[in-house]
Point group: C3
Chain length 242, copies 3
């Protein structure tokens, strides 16, 4: 199974052309759109999001993950095998958090180059063909070269920042709930927020935090919009109160 | 075939994670996104929309329908078999209109609970696994328990209100054209509108109503935007003039 | 393989109902969404876009292409076989540019009409069933009638205009880079822009043009938004400087 994780949005022919490419290579393969609204060009937020949303994907899946402000530059193209999953994408730190959470990692540089490669769409021209080869379980030697673990851009602690804001204004952080079992309050935007299990546990209009469906700490307002309530943006910090 | 009908939007990992779950369970199953922009949290509009858009779905299909302002609460999880189609979702009235239009109905409470269930994402953790079991034609006894028909939240008449506004500003109502054959005019927002067959039947800028492609009465403005023209919102009433 | 190319957007049940229809007809067929944000009702922009984004599609694919301000009117429904690809859609010029770029063309009028056809959704009721028949390689005689090439609405030169603006504000033109090899500058919105290979070749905030991933000339601003920078809209002209 192939998953797509990008900041491309649903606009334009980009996602469709990637799907076309893979379906030509792997008959009947229909990629699953994991998300296409990763905060644009934001590799840091993307790295924590990717680790969270890929945590429950099936073994042997392939994730084409593309968030890349340096598109067209000469950075390396990578493959990471983290435990039993494959990740294909740019060498810019996007896979750092996945790797830090994995029991075992193998890193590769992509040596494959097609006859024609667009300078601005490595997703279609390099990453997807390589994802297809992995799905077909081709021998890796012909298109991958083993490398040592790249220097991590992001450290191995969870991230006390907003990494994603959903359409309802809920504020997802890069902090795994499983790592902060005893956490009862957080400071955010000058306010002290309490923990709840779910929305209906607090009064209408009350801000709180809880473990969201991705296993992350998330700030919300019952029947309200936390983004508007706090004028929050991606990257805002939270402080933990144990 | 599995259909998804939600108010989740296309943002975030939510739709992708539901698709991932079902593809693990039912090989090669690729759900069809019927719509993900049901008016948010609006069960009433959703109930009439669901009945309209599911009317021509093939027999034996499964529809996972999730519009749920009470997510995380303790309401029942239901399955409805209406004629030859399955509907899986919350017990909040979302299936009422489908049931009222069906010749025969069988209702079930979902007894299945996975080992881990998120408080805020029953779509992924309960409804989709149950939809998968129905697609696989597993014996229902192990995960469904027959119940009597829930008390309807919405009455069995069509709804003289706006239930959906499309991206061009057309105003869809909850009124089936087949039920109002002789209808020649409607009152809406202080204006009297005439019936036409299609856009090109009326002058540019003229508001009218017609039978839309879902079989519902819809208000539109030729080469214009009816939502802006009338400052209309979901829930606005129309009055019929025979 | 079936591709969808429309101005429907992702809202509402429209794309989902087209997919449902084709999956009933052609088992396991999952159409690929090439794009659903063709500039609304803009057949001219759509015609140049369709030619660009379909250029690398596999032989024998079928493209259902629907951009149609005259929906519900009595214009003909067409099929074009351009080289080895099929195009299904309205007779309004949408296929003109594809045809002009093809080595060989065969044109057909669609004679198929279903028992029930909505006046406002020929995509679901006529074009998709015909696309399904082509995918199944049914004998065409029963639903297509050969016609001579329609009078072109758009001439056979490339288009020196903006035809699409992506979510990052990049301005795609209807001009193939392969046709203007020696082009070094363009005039746009009162400014003279130079050619670059990719974003990182120019300073932050600098506007430039380059060959995009569709093989078209595109105007962009490094780390900026060209649409906002130039107050640009679809249809704006550019002038070539050799």
């Amino acid at each position: 199974m192939l998953y797509l994780f990008t900041d491309f949005g649903w606009q334009g022919p980009y996602v469709g052309q990637m799907k076309s490419k893979v379906s030509e290579q792997v008959r009947y393969c229909q990629p699953i759109d994991l998300m296409h609204d990763v905060p644009a060009f934001n590799v840091k937020a993307g790295s924590y999001l990717l680790a969270a949303v890929s945590r429950y994907l099936p073994p042997d899946c392939v994730v084409a993950a593309i968030v890349d402000p340096q598109v067209g530059s000469d950075q390396r193209a990578l493959v990471l095998r983290a435990d039993y999953r494959w990740f294909v994408g740019p060498d810019n730190g996007l896979f750092d958090v996945v790797a830090q959470h994995a029991s075992s990692c193998h890193w590769y540089e992509i040596t494959f180059r097609p006859a024609h490669v667009s300078r601005s769409f490595h997703g279609r021209d390099i990453f997807i063909p390589v994802a297809g080869k992995l799905l077909l379980e081709e021998s890796c030697d012909s298109f991958l070269s083993p490398i040592s673990c790249p220097e991590p851009r992001f450290n191995d602690a969870d991230l006390n920042e907003i990494i994603y804001i959903d359409q309802f204004g809920n504020l997802m952080t890069g902090l795994r709930a499983s790592e902060v079992d005893g956490l009862v309050s957080i400071h955010f935007a000058g306010q002290l927020l309490s923990r709840a299990t779910t929305f209906s546990d607090v009064d209408t209009g009350t801000a709180f935090f809880y473990e969201n469906s991705q296993g992350l700490i998330e700030i919300a307002v019952n029947c309200g919009n936390a983004q508007a309530h706090f004028s929050a943006t991606i990257g805002d910090s939270i402080a933990l109160v144990f």
